[in-house]
């Protein structure tokens, strides 16, 4: 603007300045929102990274017949054998308290792990063997560097003595870090190093299946009725207002409905994917109906008229010609609705899906947890290592959400038809 012939007057300058300022407010607002997104997701990924790897410690165990009877392996006291082996690795440890700390380097499951090693490969029996065991959560935090070793002793959970043991092990090549497959194959546990998300994932999968099989047919049929058959009368209008309002009702209210109706009146089993899925399906119903109606509306009337003109009945015209054309759009809306349901937590708390569930559920009438509820539970746990687990579970949840949304975008792009 300065290239104009007249020199800018003061008023003009201030108007230009305010124009620039206004533009920057807009840019700033977007930048702040996106920066927050990056900051939040970034910090969660950084924290969760630690839980995707796990530490193992190698201990030499004497598996000779003197300790383990090859004919009756199960009779062995694996726990005490492990403890003995640890004591032999660090013979200088003598006091009771120190011994307990020494055992604490490994997870509480150390006996079971030894048993699994032997059952997996009985040929290792007969002599001393160097075997790998899961490190405890506190040891893992030190090994991975999540807890700074140079902190003053009273600000960390591991004492100088325990860290010196770990350093000895590290110098002997007896410490190892690798991908934490346990996190994906174990159920929940009170011990962070053993806790996994499989039970929660299965719970979410079962819950979502119930939600899908209930809400998808009902929503499609309701949308078809409202869009293709409903006369323009008070009832249709009332249904429409109802659907729009249901979409904005707070999710926790649906939880209260589930608690009062499904659990207390109908007596369905508490904490199960069946009830969770039903509650979530009531919530996703409006989302799918609204999306399905929009995509039915996008099918041009010529398709309908052609079918009716060839002698098809209204039901045939709808189900044979209009609905199939609208299906990609309906599916996209359904996936978006399912993604919402996957992240929903509050209504599941109301119907009791917050119990500690270690077993992987196999049917929809067994008590189960769900992924977001697992995140809520772990976020409440006091152990430092659960912070990493929570972040890792959030990463898994976000990955699923991203995949579902990508699938929706892909479907829309691939099958989008312009009439």
């Amino acid at each position: 603007m300065t290239s104009m012939l007249t020199t800018p007057t003061r008023l003009r300058k201030s108007r230009e300045a305010s124009e620039t300022r206004f533009k920057w407010f807009g840019r700033g607002a977007i930048a702040i929102s996106l920066a927050f997104l990056v900051f939040m997701v970034g910090s969660i990924i950084l924290q969760g990274k630690g839980a995707l790897t796990t530490s193992e410690i190698a201990v030499t165990v004497d598996l000779s017949a003197e300790n383990i009877d090859p004919n009756d392996i199960e009779a062995t006291s694996f726990d005490s054998l492990m403890k003995k082996s640890l004591r032999e690795t660090f013979p200088e440890v003598t006091s009771r308290g120190d011994k307990r700390k020494l055992y604490g380097l490994l997870s509480v499951d150390l006996g079971f792990e030894l048993r699994d090693h032997i059952l997996a490969d009985p040929s290792i029996l007969g002599g001393p063997q160097k075997l790998w065991f899961t490190a405890s959560d506190d040891a893992d935090l030190v090994i991975s560097g999540s807890v700074d070793r140079d902190l003053p002793e009273d600000e960390r959970r591991m004492s100088d003595l325990e860290i010196s043991w770990l350093e000895t092990l590290e110098n002997n090549d007896s410490v190892n870090r690798h991908f934490n497959s346990k996190f994906f194959t174990n159920g929940d546990s009170r011990e962070p190093e053993l806790a996994g998300i499989l039970s929660a994932l299965m719970g979410s999968l079962l819950t979502l299946s119930v939600c899908f099989f209930v809400s998808f047919p009902i929503a499609i049929l309701a949308a078809i009725y409202l869009e293709e058959f409903a006369p323009k009368n008070r009832l249709s209008q009332f249904i429409e207002v109802n659907i729009n309002n249901l979409a904005a009702v707070p999710s926790i209210v649906f939880g209260l409905l589930g608690l009062a109706m499904l659990l207390n009146t109908f007596g369905l089993p508490r904490s199960t994917p069946l009830v969770g899925g039903l509650v979530l399906s009531l919530m996703t119903l409006p989302t799918i109906i609204i999306a399905a109606r929009a995509s039915l509306r996008a099918v041009p009337p010529s398709i309908r008229e052609a079918a009716l003109g060839m002698g098809a009945s209204p039901v045939q015209a709808t189900f044979h010609h209009v609905a199939p054309l609208a299906l990609p759009g309906i599916l996209t809306g359904t996936i978006v609705g399912m993604a919402q349901a996957l992240g929903e937590t509050a209504p599941l708390l109301m119907i009791g899906m917050v119990a500690f569930i270690a077993d992987v559920p196999t049917s929809i009438v067994e008590p189960a947890a769900a992924l977001p509820v697992q995140i809520f539970l772990w976020a409440d746990a006091s152990e430092r290592a659960f912070v990493e687990k929570t972040s890792a579970a959030i990463i898994v949840l976000l990955v699923f959400l991203v995949l579902m949304n990508l699938l929706a975008i892909f479907l829309r792009k691939k099958f989008e038809k312009r009439f």
Binding site: L34, F229, L256, N264
Partner: protein
């Protein structure tokens, strides 16, 4: 074809015709039934909330619930215990909810509105296609993730910042929950306002620009006034979302029922109390459990009113100029 066969065929045809008519009616019936589910759900919500709330108000007078300032739901250990039923004054919860929602709106309104203005009036089509979906991601992130982030990162950050300037910030402050909730509702405000701003007809813009006003003057003096009712509607919808939001406040705001307007102190909200009252072991007949339904009814009524008003306004002004 023998006459007999023809007759059978005709008969078959008739039955087929009848059958298809029955099928048509049956299908239509199923379709109607499915769309009535939406009404059934609403009726179910209203009845289950009302029914349990009435049982609650038989024990605790409604005036105490609505105007009492002390919230400490107890279950009696002994029948003759003093204050065995606890006190159920919902005022601290209501003020807590309003305080947190107010903070959230203070964050989300400027950020959401300015984003919407920039995207609809200044941004190139390319930028718009990129930025809009990115902003929508904020709405797609589950609220439990926001809650975790608020409790674990934002609250300690506020606390240490507060300490360094000599302020005593509670570790479960209303501020942390409100700030994060604000971020969560940015996309709601920005996308609804975007629609409303886009619905303002081009002729108004052209007229204003033609008279020599700059872009920002056009936006502030012509477009925003024309869009203001619709924007107000989108803000109301966002406020209703904030009031009904649960996980962020459960994880970041805590359960201390303080009657305060200080954002640095801990407050609790209606939703957080519902969760606290109904998780864990519960006997279904105590006033404590039933009070959760009364809170739910209150929440439902407030959000319903906000939703109805805002949906009406938004729909009206979205299409006003078409």
């Amino acid at each position: 074809m023998s006459p007999k066969n023809a007759a059978t065929a005709a008969k078959l045809n008739i039955t087929a015709g009848n059958r298809s008519k029955t099928v048509e009616m049956l299908v239509t019936g199923v379709l109607i039934a499915c769309s009535l589910v939406a009404i059934l759900v609403t009726v179910g919500i209203v009845f289950s909330l009302l029914f349990e709330s009435i049982r609650f108000f038989e024990r605790v007078p409604m005036s105490e619930f609505l105007f009492g300032t002390k919230w400490s739901p107890q279950t009696a250990l002994r029948a003759d215990q003093v204050a065995a039923e606890g006190s159920f004054g919902a005022v601290p919860l209501i003020t807590g909810t309003l305080l947190i929602s107010f903070i959230a709106m203070c964050v989300a309104t400027p950020l959401g509105l300015f984003s919407a203005i920039y995207l609809s009036e200044y941004a190139s089509k390319r930028t718009r296609n990129w930025v809009k979906p990115l902003l929508e991601i904020l709405a797609g992130i589950p609220t439990v993730v926001y809650g975790f982030f608020a409790a674990l990162v934002v609250a300690p950050m506020l606390r240490s910042t507060g300490e360094s300037v000599g302020l005593n910030v509670s570790s479960e402050s209303a501020l942390a929950a409100g700030l994060i909730m604000g971020v969560m509702i940015i996309p709601l405000i920005s996308s609804l306002s975007d629609d409303v701003i886009n619905a303002v007809p081009q002729s108004l813009r052209d007229a204003s620009l033609g008279l020599g006003s700059t872009d920002s003057e056009t936006i502030r003096k012509v477009i925003l006034p024309a869009a203001i009712p619709g924007i107000a509607g989108s803000l109301l919808l966002a406020a209703s979302r904030a009031i009904g939001e649960t996980m962020i406040v459960v994880m970041a705001a805590g359960l201390a029922a303080n009657l305060t307007a200080n954002p640095l102190e801990a407050v609790t909200t209606i939703t957080a109390q519902i969760v606290a009252l109904l998780t864990g072991d519960q006997e279904f007949d105590s006033a404590k459990t039933l009070s959760a339904f009364a809170l739910g009814l209150l929440l439902f009524i407030v959000t319903l009113i906000l939703n109805v008003i805002s949906l009406k306004i938004v729909n009206k002004y979205r299409e006003q100029y078409d």
